[in-house]
Each structure stands twice: as C-alpha cells, then as structure tokens.
Amino acid sequence: MVGEPILVMLVEDNIDHAELVIRTMEEHRIANKVRHFLDGQSALDYLFHRSEYTDHAGNPRPHVILLDLRLPRVDGIDVLKAIKEDNDLKTIPVVVLTTSEAEKDVARAYYNHANSYLVKPVGFEEFKKLMDDLGFYWLGWNTNPEIKE
C-alpha cells in the first residue's frame, strides 16, 4: 500500500459541494488523487471500464468511494447496488456522503451494504473536520482490502 497513489472517487452532482470536498482533501493531503463524477451513470461507466473509460491502466479502481444519494440519471442507491452486487467491486469501501438525514435514506443505504453513512455538516469547520476524520479513518487507520483490477 505504501507508495501506491491513493485514489478517491467522488460522485457528487453539486459542483460546489464537490469543490468543497476536493479542496479540503487536497489541503489535508488525504488523497493523492480525487476523481469527480457528476452523475451515477458516468461513475458506473468508470468503475466497469465502459464507454470512455475502457483503458484499465489510465482508469484504476479507487480506494474509497464517496457517494451522494440523489444523483441525476442513475441514482446513488442504484450505483451502490451495482457496486455491491459486483464480485470485484464489492470490496471497495463506499461512504455515503449526503445532505439527507432521512431515516429512509440511511436504512436504504445500509440495506444495500454501504460501509458508512455521513451527513454533510452545515458549517465550514465541521465540514473540514469531517473530511479530515474521514481521510484518517478510511485511508489511514482502516486496513483496506487489496483492490483487484
């Protein structure tokens, strides 16, 4: 794991939120690289090496996926299902990162094997702290499985 570039996949339709996440991660040197997708469809295309992402080497599997729930085209929950139903992808930790606190969404996420569910905090310091902790936990403390290509 050491020396291997750490790749975070961010699936987020809100450009501002994505900017917040990416900027915080960069500042805290949490990830070597963040790849951002605006909708569920392109995220799945990337993961399954479809469409413009057929090149395996240029489009490596991420170490962790940050997934918003309400997404255009393919919904977040459907992206989650597709990942967890795939034998190769299911080992990648998926962290749901959303504004929704609705119980229904939490339940649905865990039911579909989400590894974690985080609500975006309203407040700059809180947001930064969350990103910090998230980075430490999933990419530092947590022992991740080997990512298969």
Partner: protein, 732 residues
C-alpha cells in the same frame, strides 16, 4: 203342528240338483200315499172285487213311502230314489203277475218306473231300468204263455180306467214336480245373474271387457262410464278403440306402450293415467285389467276396472304444489340470507352487484337479472350489473334508460315503487328488448337507501305470470338490502378514496420534508462551506479565489431562493384559486405558446397543433401553466435534432370519457426507468440543463387536482410523448 207342516214340505239342500231330486221323491211318495188312500175309498164303489187287493197294496205302499220320505229328510236321496223306483217296479210286477199277465192294467206302472228312473238317475241308470222293465215284461209274458200264471183277471172298463188313472196322475205328479223345479231353478239362475249384474253396474267403479288381440277392442263397458266420463256408453261399444282416443295426450304414449306389453306378455295391466272427459276435464283413473282364460287355458278376454282417482291425484298434486311453494320459500329465504351476507361482506361496488344479480338469477332460475344505478345527473339509469353474456354485452355498450315514464325501470325509479308486467307484451311501459327475446314476465324493484332511490333492479322470467305477491315482497326486501349495501359500498369507497388521498397527501408531505431537509440544506452547506474559505482567501490574499467563492455563495443563495419560490408555488397549487370554467384547450395551448416560444424557437421548431382540441373544464391559468411547462420541456430537451417537431393533439378518450391530450416531441427522449422519476420533486435527469426540477411535479399536481392523470411514453433518443387527461366540459 209346525213339525207336521214341515213334514209336508220337502227339506232344503244347498245343491239345486239335490233340491230337485228331493222334491221329486218327496212329492211322488206323498202323492202315492194320497192316491193309495183315494183308491182305498173309491175302489169299493167302482171295483168291489179289487177292494181286498187294493187294501193290501195300500197297506204296503203307505208305510214304505213314509219311510222313503223320512230317508229324504235325512238326506239319503239316492237310497230313497232307488227304494221308490224299486217299490213302484215291484208293485207293478207283482200286480201284473197276480192279475194274470201283461194285459193287466197295472202293467202300465212300468212307464212310471221308467219315467221316475229317468228323472232321478244320472248317467245310464234309466237305460238299465228300462231294460229291466222290458226283460221282466218278457219273463211275465213267457210265464203267461206257458200257463204258469193264474187266470187273467177280467176288469170292468171302469176298474181298468181307474188303474190307468192312478198311473196317469202319478206321472202327472212327477212331471209337475220336475217341471216346477226346473222352472224354479231357471228363475233362481236368472235371479242370481241379475243380482250380479246389478252389483256390477251399481258399484262405483267402471268395468269393461276388452278383446285379447293386439287392438284390445272394447267389447263391454259398464254404464258407470257415462257418469265417469260423460260419454254415452255406445261411444265405447260402437267404436272399440274409443278409449285409446280419450287418453290424455301426455299419458297416451306410455299407456299404449304398457298396454301393448301387457298384451304381449299376458300379464296384468295396472296403470294410473288421465282420460279426457266429454266436458274436457282430465279424469284420473286407475286401470287394472286381468287376462281371463277358459278352463283349457286359452285366453278369453281382458277383464278390467277403471277406478276414479281424480280426487286422490288432486290431493297429491295439491300436496306437491304445497311442497314446491315451500321449497320456493326456502330458496327465497336462503337467497335472502346469501344476498344479505354478500350485502354485508362485499364492500366493493364492482364486485357486490355482479354477485347479487348472479345469486338471485341462479337461485330462482330467472331468465335475466340486472341492476341499474342512477347517474349523477339523476336523468339516466345506467346498467351496472347484469347476468349472462347478454348482460355483459349490454354493460359494455353502456346500456342506460331514461328516468321517467318511458320504461319500467325509469318509472320505478321516478316513482320509487315496484312495477310488474306479467306478460310484457301487454304492458306498454316496457320497451321490448331485442337482446332478451324470451322475457314473458318482468319486475322492476326500486333500490332505496335512506329514502333516496339510487337505482332499480330488473328481474325477468321466461314464464308468463312468473311473480306472485309473495315473490315481490321477498325480492323487494332483498332489493332494500341491496340498496343499503350499495350505499354502504359507496361510503366505503369514499372512505377508501379519502384514505388513499390522505396517504397521498402524507407521502407528499414526507417528500416535502425530505426536499426541505435535502434540497434546501444543500445550498446551505455550500454557503457555509465557502464562507469559511472566503475568510481563508481574504487571509491569504487570494483575490481570484475570493471572487470565485463569493460567486458560489451568491448562486447558492439564488438557488435557495428559486427552490423556496417553487415550493411556495407548489403549495399554492393544492388550493385552487381560480374557479373552474369551460375553456377551449386550443386557447390554453395558444396562450402557453405565447409565453414560452421565443422567436428563435419558432423559426427552428415545427409546431403542429391539432385543430380538433376539445372544450375542457378547469382552472384556465393553471392549465396554461401546465402547457407552458410541457412545451418548455419539449423545447429544452430537443437535443441536437435537425428537424425539431412538436405536436399537440387529442388521442381519443379514456374509460371515464375524459379526453386524452398529448404533446409529442422528437427530442432526446427518456429512458423507461425514469418515466416515473421525472415527475418527482426537484428530480432532474440532466444537471447541465437549467432548472430546479419542479416543472413536471407542478404539472402532475395540477393535472391530478383536475381529476386527471399524466404519464409519458418515450424511449431514449426517440422523442417523448406526454399524455394527460382532463375533465370534459359538462355542457355539450
């Protein structure tokens, strides 16, 4: 005295023949005694020389004859007969011998012997007697010729005549007795025949005799037949096949068949059937006939008896009528129970009514049962449930009758009373229904609930006069239950609809909360997040990023503003502010086009608005909003189509008669999995296209508030068609 009197008359025996024999012997013996006494008195006067002989003769004859009479009294007729014959023979023989030969007048006594023997003996007894007389006569003649007999006595002519007279009288006596007996016997026979005949012709049954041949012709019929059937007896005798002609047509075949079998097999015929009397009545008879054979076993004729069993049959029929009435009542009660069970347990109007019409039709075996319900305008009664294929067809064709006096159902509904036509041909109120050609009786029963006539039930039968007063009462009570059940079912439906609506509202509220918690929070996250960075930008003096971040905050607040406006708008739709009116859909489209379609669009896109758009009923400004959104979407999602085309028109009517309107484009289209999602609040398929995602939510909301529905038919890349229904104008 009585004994003496009895002694003068011969005893009575059971056997006619014995009686005759007894009389003959008795009176002959008695006569001989009387004659002997007479002779005793007259002979001294006319033949004094014979007196001694006569006295001796009389002294022998009288006691012997008394003895014979006694034997007769004891029933020893045969012995008495032989003795009497022998006595006379012995007297004649002795007289002839003693008086010197066959010329003696007493010899004539042999004729008495032969006569008496002939009368008394059976078989060949008199032949032997005659032979004995001839032989003994010849023996006497032989003895006389050889002079073995005393000198013949010469009689004076009177004496001779007296002896002859004695025998003449004796013969006459026997003749008299015998002839009298025979006459009496004949009278007896005649009497008893008359007795039997009178018995046969006075007992309360009719007897007949039929021939044994296959035709079974009537040879005799007793006169009671006239009382039984009213036909003169001669009808049967002059036409031997007459009885076959008056058998009731329904019974004829089986009776003639049975009759034929009886004749073939020779066994007893026993049947109950109806004969048609002269006045047309059906008379039930029990016919029993037996084949009578002669002593050699040869069949002679059929001896039959007709017994009138009409009253028994009537009683039986009455009983079976009673049973069928009871059975019918039981069925009615049972049906009533089942109808009430259905009425109380089935709450779905769509299921309740078909169940009830089927129940009533099947249990009572009616031809057709249907239920009409009054529509909202109260002008029409619409067929809502009906039995059989006919019923299905009529319902499918929207069969309805006008409330009023033009039909039985219409009359029944407008008056709230049951109406019956027992032979529909005679009741002008009913319109003969060509689909129900077999109806002969029809009943219309009002369905009343809480004093209001909500419909009527029609019950039709193939039988004339099929409904009795009791039927009407029973069925009306069922109809009352049905009326209440319909009301209950409607209330239940209303309740269910209310619940569904409430559930819908609830879900909407939930979505609203969700939206507030998610979509409104989202700009807040942005604002607060970049406020933090703004401070950092200021501290680091990175003014380029400061500007960018500030813009982000500004657009987030704009977004929030837009969302809040949309939410407000959506909540306003729930409370229609404009009163509904009849309005031309074409006009609505026109107004929406003016608001949405810019000059650029007009030049680029071909719009095809159908001219046959209906007049609809609704909130005009809101409906303009609907079209505005739909047209706007069609333009927005046109993609890079080179020949953009938008079509607005009418696509027929749905089951409730609402017009189905549509707007079709040849733009990018929508994948089937998103056909439902696009109507969700703030759901956007393409974030690159401007908007909050409220448009279709608003459209659906407005259409649903008008009682319509909206859906989309589309495939990705092949354009989209939005279809929706709206209420039609109520004044046509």
């Amino acid at each position: 005295m009585k004994n003496a009197e009895n002694f003068l008359l011969p005893p009575q025996f059971n056997d006619d023949e014995a009686n005759i024999t007894a009389r003959l012997i008795y009176f002959t013996s008695g006569g001989l005694i009387v004659l002997s006494l007479l002779f005793l008195t007259v002979s001294p006067l006319i033949a004094p020389d014979l007196t001694v002989r006569v006295m001796l003769l009389a002294l022998g004859v009288i006691p012997i004859n008394l003895g014979i009479m006694t034997l007769v009294r004891f029933g020893r007729l045969r012995l008495a007969g032989i003795l009497l014959t022998m006595l006379i023979w012995a007297t004649a023989t002795m007289g002839t011998i003693t008086t010197g030969g066959i010329l003696a007048p007493i010899f004539i006594g042999y004729t008495v012997v032969i006569t008496l023997g002939g009368l008394l003996s059976r078989n060949k007894g008199n032949v032997y007697l005659t032979l004995i007389c001839i032989v003994s006569g010849f023996l006497i003649a032989l003895a006389e010729t050889n002079g073995m007999l005393p000198q013949p006595h010469t009689y004076a002519p009177y004496a001779q005549m007296t002896v002859y007279s004695f025998f003449f009288l004796a013969i006459m006596l026997m003749q008299n007795v015998t002839a009298g007996s025979f006459r009496k016997l004949l009278v007896n026979v005649h009497d008893s025949d008359g007795k039997y005949r009178s018995l046969l012709e006075n007992i309360p049954i009719t007897t007949y005799i039929n021939s044994t041949d296959i035709k079974s012709l009537t040879e005799y019929v007793s006169p009671q037949v006239e009382r039984l059937l009213g036909y003169p007896r001669d009808d049967f005798l002059s036409d031997p096949e007459f009885w076959k002609k008056i058998i009731h047509p329904e019974d004829r075949e089986r009776i003639l068949e049975e009759n034929k079998q009886s004749i073939d097999m020779g066994h007893t015929f026993e049947m109950e059937y109806r004969l048609i009397a002269k006045d047309g009545r059906a008379v039930w008879v029990k016919d029993e006939a037996t084949l009578v054979h002669d002593e050699n076993g040869k069949p002679l004729h059929w001896l039959g008896v007709w017994t009138d069993i009409t009253s028994r049959k009537t009683a039986e029929e009455e009983q079976s009528d009673l049973i069928s009435v009871m059975t019918k009542r039981t069925i009615q009660l049972q049906t009533g129970a089942e109808v009430s069970r259905a009425a109380s347990s089935i709450l779905e109007p769509g299921k309740l009514l078909p169940t009830i019409v089927e129940l009533i039709r099947n249990h009572f075996d009616y031809y057709y049962v249907g239920i009409f319900l009054v529509d909202n305008s109260r002008k029409w009664a619409v067929l809502s449930a009906a039995t059989g294929e006919t019923g299905r067809q009529m319902i499918a064709s929207g069969h309805k009758l006008e409330v009023g006096d033009s039909s039985m159902i219409g009359w029944c509904i407008s008056h709230g009373h049951a109406r019956i036509a027992l032979d529909v041909g005679e009741d002008a109120v009913r319109f003969r229904n060509p689909i129900l050609p077999l109806t002969r009786s029809e009943m219309a029963l009002p369905l009343i609930s809480r004093g209001e006539v909500i419909g009527a039930m029609t019950i039709q039968s193939e039988l004339p006069s099929a409904f009795s007063r009791v039927d009407i009462t029973t069925l009306q009570s069922m109809a009352d239950q049905v009326g209440n059940a319909i009301k209950n079912a409607r209330l239940f439906m209303e309740r269910t609809n209310l619940i569904t609506e409430l559930e819908g509202r609830n879900a909407e509220l939930e979505r609203f909360t969700y939206t507030v918690s998610h979509d409104l929070k989202s700009p807040l996250v942005t604002i607060r997040g970049f406020l933090g960075y703004l401070r950092e930008d200021a501290a680091s003096g990175d003014m380029i990023r400061f500007d960018k971040d500030l813009n982000r905050i500004a657009s987030a607040t704009d977004k929030m503003q837009a969302l809040l406006n949309d939410l407000l708008e959506l909540s306003r739709v729930g409370r229609i502010t404009n009163p509904p009116e009849d309005t031309s859909f074409g006009q609505i489209v026109k107004e929406a086009m003016e608001l949405v379609v810019g000059p650029n669009d007009e030049a680029r896109i071909k719009f095809d608005i159908h001219p046959d758009l209906p007049i609809i009923h609704g909130d005009h400004p809101r409906l303009v909003e609907v079209m505005q959104n739909l047209i706007n979407n069609a333009i927005k999602f046109m993609g890079h189509e080179t020949k953009p085309h938008i079509e607005i028109g009418l696509n027929g009517y749905d089951r409730d008669g609402k017009p189905i309107l549509f707007i079709r484009d040849n733009g990018i289209g929508i994948e089937p999995q998103y056909h439902e999602r696009i109507f969700g609040l703030f759901n956007r398929l393409d974030p690159s296209i401007h908007g909050t995602g409220i448009g279709l939510t608003l459209v659906r909301r407005i259409v649903e508030i008008h009682g319509g529905r909206i859906w989309v038919e589309s495939e990705y890349g092949r354009g989209a068609t939005f279809l929706f229904t709206l209420p039609l104008s109520q004044t046509k």
